[in-house]
């Protein structure tokens, strides 16, 4: 007769935590969470106060900054920036006159001269001895390379010679 051993061996089987232990662990965890929650609420209220105080301090400091020495410094710097921009500007009027002197041929004279810096335009009324003088003068202006456009708007023969208006556009 064969003997069959029906006894179950519990020696290798792990025992789970008892419900009481699990309850204690979970309860402690919950308590810990509640403590952390309370702590965070307290810390946050302190931080809120610090933020509020910081904002108030910042507003006061900005006010003092704007009303204080910074205004003088900013005004000085604003002026300085404008001076830097302006100091690069060239006074063109004298330069234009000097160039016109160089480009004039001897047989001619100016009745009137007008220069508009904004438009870069010179309007002159010139008097030449004859039309040959007119042509030579126009050629001289063209060859100068100083003007981008030269326009003769007509001419009139008078007892003094040929009077003609001319418009020159400075490059």
């Amino acid at each position: 007769m064969v003997n069959i051993n029906l006894k179950i061996d519990h020696a290798g089987e792990k025992k789970g935590p008892s419900p009481i232990t699990a309850g204690i662990v979970l309860g402690s965890l919950l308590l810990l969470l509640m403590l952390a929650y309370g702590g965070m609420l307290f810390y946050k209220s302190r931080l809120d106060k610090k933020v509020e105080a910081g904002n108030t301090e910042y507003v006061a400091k900005v006010g003092a900054f704007k009303a204080g020495k910074a205004k003088n410094v900013f005004d000085f710097q604003n002026r300085l920036n404008n001076v830097i921009n302006l100091s690069g500007e060239k006074e063109k009027t004298v330069e234009v006159l000097v160039n016109i002197e160089q480009f004039m041929i001897p047989d001619l004279y100016i009745n009137s001269f007008e220069y508009d810096k904004t438009k870069g335009e010179i309007n002159m009324s010139l008097n030449a001895k004859n039309y040959n003088g007119v042509a030579k003068q126009l050629l001289k202006f063209k060859n100068s390379g100083y003007f981008s456009d030269i326009q003769v708007k007509g001419s009139e023969v008078t007892e003094k010679g040929v009077k003609f208006p001319v418009t020159l556009i400075v490059k």
Partner: protein
């Protein structure tokens, strides 16, 4: 025993619910508040540094009175018509010319002041509640022109001398237009042809620059408050090139018993 079995899932459920509904939101808020605090601390540090820099620069400016004088002379804060008339008068007569007219233009054309968005006390842009667009109530001044038309009589050399002198005046100006014509021009505006006449009339329109003082706006982000460097080389250049000196205008006596007689 049943109670013990029930307590386990109830505790787990409570922990999860508590964590999600209470702990996590407070933790998130805490992080945001800390970030805000860091930000405000950064802004405070920044404004402290800028204030210190402004004080340092102000001291530097005060110690360089010569540069301040050059700046004020080159680009005054007001039109100063009396100064312009005094300077033009000095140059005209000093150069042997004669006045025949002098007029300020009533409405000058100049660049508009630069509008900047208004900021609240915390440095945030103020927006229109209806449109949501930034509000522009403040301006940074730009250059303005006091425009004067000068009528003078003299020969060509004198007129050219006048132009040279006025362009080297201590105060910034520019000749915006000029008309030179024979002094014998007749009443209809046409020039009389007189080849030999050396006397000329000049009508010059000159823009004398000025720049209003900063009133209500300071650009706190301007580089000057971080770099702390004043670039004064432009003023050295002004000092070198602007050498026409006109005696300062002074009033010797005050008051007159009969203001209708000389």
């Amino acid at each position: 025993m049943n109670l013990k079995i029930l307590a386990f899932p109830v505790l787990i459920f409570t922990i999860i619910v508590f964590s999600i509904w209470f702990v996590y939101p407070v933790y998130s808020d805490l992080l945001i508040t800390r970030a805000k605090l860091n930000e405000i601390n950064g802004k405070l540090e920044n404004i402290d540094q800028k204030t210190q820099m402004a004080e340092k620069l102000n001291g530097e400016i005060s110690s360089k009175a010569e540069y301040q004088n050059i700046l004020d002379g080159f680009l005054p804060a007001e039109r100063n018509e009396e100064q312009i008339i005094n300077e033009v008068n000095d140059i005209i007569f000093g150069g042997g010319m004669v006045f025949y007219s002098l007029a300020f233009k009533e409405k000058e054309t100049h660049l508009e002041d630069v509008p900047v968005p208004s900021l609240d006390e915390r440095g945030n842009p103020i927006t229109d509640p209806v449109t949501g667009q930034p509000v522009y109530n403040e301006v940074i001044p730009k250059i303005k022109n006091a425009q004067i038309t000068i009528g003078g009589i003299g020969d060509y050399d004198k007129i050219r001398g006048f132009l040279r002198k006025i362009s080297s005046l201590e105060r910034m100006n520019s000749v915006s237009s000029i008309r030179i014509f024979k002094a014998t021009e007749n009443s209809s505006g046409t020039e009389a042809d007189n080849a030999s006449s050396g006397t000329l009339k000049m009508e010059a329109t000159v823009d004398f620059k000025y720049l209003d003082k900063v009133k209500n706006t300071i650009d706190m982000d301007d580089g000057i408050f971080t770099t702390g460097q004043l670039n004064l080389s432009a003023l050295d250049q002004v000092k070198e090139t602007r050498n026409t000196v006109v005696p300062e205008l002074r009033t010797e006596t005050e008051g007159k018993q009969n203001p209708f007689v000389l």
